[in-house]
């Protein structure tokens, strides 16, 4: 594989950049693989990469219905954080933070990781107490957390509404300084390029039609481009999880919902951090191009549409303007939607299934992007070793039966209905 470096950049400049190698090939599916990963999104690509890198399993195919990186890894708001209270989520995400910090070097691809810090705003004394508790839990797990008072928040984000007579005054906030953002497409492309270079077949425009299961064991998959035999199959398809589960006669604790995001026109640098509104569901950061990147609530009803509806967008942006009134002056540049695999406790599932050789990776809710490296790493481990790693042991499929839910917000089932 051609290394991306300043030397190669200069060298290729002499031939008008027309002789760069393709970043990944376009192979036809082989008859058989050791591992087939269904879903060429961030998590699927990362899984294939870590299968090859950490476990030396390279007879691997990624099967993607559309094109790689065209789903949620290309539709998110690029936020990376590990500000969780529960041990399972905190330790898993913090392991991921380490992978994020090394990712550009590791992949030889600039993913533009920018640890600019995230601030969750608090709007009442009770919320400050809850944030103090979460911050303490984070610090016990080795995650950086700083509780800010009103004056400290004002110093960092003076453009927020600090006037006295607002409905949701800012009392303070909880900051994770090491959180941040990354260039989402680069993450998918970086993983794809490295996985391809180690022998992984990235097969696009290939839809999975069915599964070949006999005597409780997976033997392969049926696709729009023919049958493929496989010793092991990993499902990594986010909002399409239920569609594939139905073909396996599985009913999962997952519902597919629509989440929208949007960006404003680009403006000069005004916001250095990621900021979330604490009295609703709204978050904002500023991209390197200057656009304000914003998101919030789900549309609120089961949906596979990948496009949103205006009432929700209006509701979300009303919260944004309450938090930072200057946003009302900006013009909207783009809005889009993606379909989320919402789990019933708000936490993901990375586990084996009752079918031998079939592995499940789903339930990422709104938080899939930041989990990309840790999800790929632990899923690769689970597939390669046929057992879960301690980092994803809590993300079991049977926790819903046994009552070991990981309910970060304490909202019970269907955490998205609030």
């Amino acid at each position: 594989m051609q290394k991306y470096s300043i030397f190669n950049l200069v060298k290729n400049a002499f031939s008008n950049h027309e002789n760069w190698d393709l970043a990944w090939k376009d192979p036809t599916p082989k008859e058989e693989y050791d591992v087939v990963i269904i879903g060429g999104g961030g998590h699927g690509l990362a899984t294939a990469y870590y299968l090859a890198k950490e476990h030396n399993i390279t007879k691997v195919a990624i099967i993607e219905k559309g094109w790689i990186g065209g789903g949620n890894v290309g539709r998110n708001t690029t936020i990376i954080r590990s500000n969780y209270m529960h041990d399972e989520n905190g330790l898993f995400s913090e392991f991921g933070m380490d992978l994020w910090r090394k990712m550009s070097q590791d992949l030889n691809y600039n993913v533009m990781f920018s640890p600019r810090g995230i601030i969750n705003l608090a709007h009442s004394d009770a919320q400050m107490n809850a944030y103090a508790r979460r911050g303490n839990s984070m610090r016990l797990n080795g995650i950086d957390a700083v509780l800010l008072n009103r004056e400290q928040v004002k110093e960092i984000i003076p453009m927020a509404d600090f006037s006295e007579n607002v409905r949701f005054p800012i009392f303070g906030g909880l900051m994770q300084p090491s959180a941040g953002t990354a260039r989402h497409d680069a993450v998918a492309w970086g993983y794809a390029r490295q996985a391809d270079s180690m022998g992984v077949d990235i097969i696009q425009n290939c839809e999975v039609i069915g599964f070949d299961v006999s005597a409780g064991k997976i033997n392969g998959i049926r696709t729009s481009r023919g049958n493929i035999k496989a010793k092991k199959v990993g499902l990594c398809v986010a909002g399409s999880t239920n569609i594939l589960a139905e073909k396996l006669n599985m009913t999962l604790p997952i519902e597919t919902h629509l989440l929208q995001a949007c960006v404003s026109e680009p403006v000069k640098p005004v916001l250095d951090n990621v900021v979330t509104f604490g009295a609703g569901h709204f978050y904002v950061s500023q991209s390197d191009k200057g656009e304000m990147v914003m998101g919030g609530d789900l549309d609120g009803y089961n949906s596979y549409a990948q496009r949103g509806n205006l009432p929700t967008l209006q509701h979300v942006l009303t919260e944004g303007i309450a938090m930072m009134p200057f946003l009302s002056k900006l013009k909207m540049l783009r809005t889009w939607g993606g379909i989320m695999d919402m789990s019933m406790d708000g936490s993901p599932i990375i586990d084996k299934t009752h079918i031998e050789g079939l592995y499940l990776n789903c339930g990422w809710c709104y938080g899939g992007f930041k989990a990309t490296p840790a999800s790929g790493w632990t899923f690769a481990h689970t597939i390669a070793q046929d057992r879960v790693h301690e980092l994803n042991a809590g993300y079991s499929l049977n926790r819903f039966s046994t009552g070991h839910l990981i309910d970060e917000k304490g909202l019970g089932t269907k955490t998205w209905i609030s």
Partner: protein, 89 residues
């Protein structure tokens, strides 16, 4: 914007409604032996169909009645609406 034909009030915008999830889910009968699996299916497990989906909505800013709506989860087209206790053929 979705427009939902409330069987009690007529056509209204989605802003007046709140969503209640899959209407095909049945609570297990109270006076019989219930397995953990049955409870799991009632509380957690969902088919989350792509296509025609029968679901509950509440006309929260109108008559406050729960209703059933048959809607396509891929196109958002609404086919039929029913009163909560109406049998759906």
């Amino acid at each position: 914007m979705l427009y939902i034909n409330c069987p009690h009030c007529g056509m209204r915008s989605q802003n007046e409604f709140s969503y209640g999830g899959d209407a095909s889910v049945k609570r297990p009968e109270l006076n019989k032996e219930i397995s953990d699996q049955e409870w799991d299916n009632f509380v957690y497990n969902r088919k989350s169909l792509r296509g025609k989906h029968l679901e509950l909505w509440q006309h929260i800013s109108g008559c406050r009645q729960w209703i059933k709506v048959e809607r396509d989860t891929a196109t958002h087209e609404i086919f039929r609406t029913f009163k909560a206790d109406e049998e759906v053929a």
